[in-house]
Subunit: 341 residues, 2 copies
DNA sequence: GAGCTAAATGTAAACGTTGACATTGGTTGT
DNA sequence: ACAACCAATGTCAACGTTTACATTTAGCTC
């Protein structure tokens, strides 16, 4: 049997194009042509012979060999800050799906919001020579700046590339979203407002804060009267800040959270202190995690179309000269009003 | 400047080990030795020269070249059925973390529980020549059987390898878990029991069902009186079955769900019909998603240590002869009793 | 100082694939 | 009959890295 033979000769390694060529008495070039669908210049019965030989040997082309020859892999690297965050998971899944359609594979790495880890992962990514590198929630690190000058396509999601770097961006209009939340809270007559936002280093957090405070100011309220807290984007952090805020002499009556996770934590803190929502405290989240529909049907939040991010990124990657293009895809958001405001 | 020179010569491609060798006037062998930490047989000042040249050129070794030479990549492929499921996300994240420590990268693919898609992805995975292939919730497909005979390490999570295949397995004792849930419900005096389980094709679902019914029978109840429903493991499916069950003339008074997602759906259906939990209906989930602590603090469920799966899988991958070894890692589960029972 | 050893470095082949170019043999046009 | 062409297939180099083996050099010993 051919299979045994090849296995033997290759010392346990998978069969190569040479094995297939020998098995069907043709050259490697012809085998390659057939297997890559260049059937135009191959006789039909020859093609058939190749296909049968490949099948009987259980041949699968080596992506390594192909990549080396073409000096290009079919891999895209995605860096996320936290996969347990629903939003990240949705983006990751939608990107993987979109890439699958184009025959690309996705390497997923978790930066855990740690700059050093991001740099380590960027180095690993670089050595993979991927088709592109996608950063969800990028941090401004030395290696990022260094690598951004490369020809390799970089795409930023949710947080814009740090200033000197020019690269495509996919996200929403965070400033407008911040304004929308402020407008909503003001319209409902809420005062005593607090905002628990993400790291100021991130363009997304900054823009939301800016939009939010801007709208507040327009309404004639002193933005300085708004309690501003910089926080990690986790339930635990939200819960901690919630307890602290609610134990103040004059606790806030409305809180705008950097994401839904924080909002969950705040909600828990409010419940524990017997503060009613929205009567005693209004809460607004951000992202509208898919699970909200089932488990947090009370949460007013900004719906971000996470599953649309993947296709948008994939199509940017397929464009020519993606690297140099400073294109932007701004996706629509939507204020989802529920009972927490 | 060296950088410009190399860039020019390579026509925009990243610098290679040859560029570095030329830049420091040494051979590629020496460069390779230094960069791979074989410092033992290289003079210290020579090593320094190499390192500086590499740095000034911005050299990053190509994983492709290395892989080709060593006919082995540093990639592990993980196939999951649904990344929006918290449990899958936790496993994926913990595996990625564990692999990172060993310098491995993780390619993540979504099978969406579709057999054809799993087979397509398995073919892609094979061509990547990964260090190992990890299947979370594997389906029994032709290609899986074919590939399992390969020397390449396969590891099964949560669902055992389909019978003829021998491969390492990481999971919990599903039968015991099923028994534990039954014991708990019986102890609380619940009758009129239903079970909404995952696909019967999967060993995990089957074992749970078996353990559950076994324990019921031991209690003197006819297992045939238990309503059994095979279902997809999603909130939507749970909600649908919940509505149907609760609209029956004699609705069940206790439901054991295949995972927490289904339980969320059931809960919603119960709320909508005004059925109290656990008074009118007891609900038990499975997995204990991390978000439960915050958003579903009412759900009695089996806690599966998702974040321990990654390290367990990683250590199996690092063992020698992983492929042939039929090892098993059975992780502990825990019945988390909350107010839904 | 010849002979030996060990340290430091160099040489070259191999990994699997593809595609530019070369070759073969047959067919058409004049 | 000869050139020109076309279709089908083959040859071979290149992609970037690592490593077995070869070579050089310096430091010893007797």
């Amino acid at each position: 049997m051919g299979l045994g033979e090849a296995t033997l000769r290759n010392h346990g390694r998978p069969p190569t194009v040479i094995d297939v060529a020998e098995a069907c008495g043709l050259s490697t070039a012809t085998v390659s042509r057939v297997l890559n669908g260049l059937v135009a210049s191959v006789a039909p019965e020859t093609a058939q012979r190749v296909i049968e030989a490949a099948r009987s040997l259980g041949y699968t082309p080596s992506a390594i060999g192909r990549s080396l020859r073409q000096s290009e892999t079919r891999i895209v690297v995605l860096l996320v800050p936290d996969l347990t965050n629903d939003f990240c998971a949705d983006v990751a899944m939608s990107l993987e799906k979109a890439l699958q359609l184009g025959g690309l594979s996705m390497v997923l790495c978790n930066t855990a919001e740690k700059p050093e880890q991001q740099d380590r992962l960027l180095a690993d990514a670089e050595s993979l020579r991927p088709r592109g590198i996608v950063l969800l929630g990028a941090m401004d690190t030395p290696r990022l700046r260094a690598m951004a000058q490369t020809a390799r396509p970089f795409i930023f999601i949710n947080r814009r590339p740090p200033p000197p770097i020019k690269a495509p961006y996919v996200g929403i209009d965070n400033k407008a979203a911040g304004r929308a939340v402020a407008a909503h809270l003001l319209e409902r007559g809420h005062t005593g407002i607090a905002i628990i936002h993400g790291p100021r280093k991130n363009s997304a957090s900054r823009s939301r804060l800016e939009g939010f405070l801007g709208r507040i100011a327009e309404h004639g309220i002193d933005p300085a009267s708004v309690i501003q807290i910089e926080s990690a984007l986790t339930t635990e952090a939200g819960y901690g800040h919630g307890r602290e805020l609610l134990s103040r002499g004059q606790p806030p009556r409305a809180i705008f959270c950097g994401n839904d996770m924080i909002a969950y934590g705040i909600y828990r803190a409010a419940q524990e202190r017997g503060v009613s929502v929205p009567g005693g405290l209004a809460i607004v989240g951000f992202d509208d995690n898919g699970i909200n529909a089932w488990l947090a049907p009370w949460l007013t939040t900004i719906r971000v179309p996470a599953v649309d991010f993947g296709p948008a990124v994939a199509s940017l990657l397929n464009e020519k000269n993606t690297a140099r293009r400073e294109s932007e895809v701004i996706l629509p958001f939507e204020l989802t009003v529920r009972s927490s405001t």
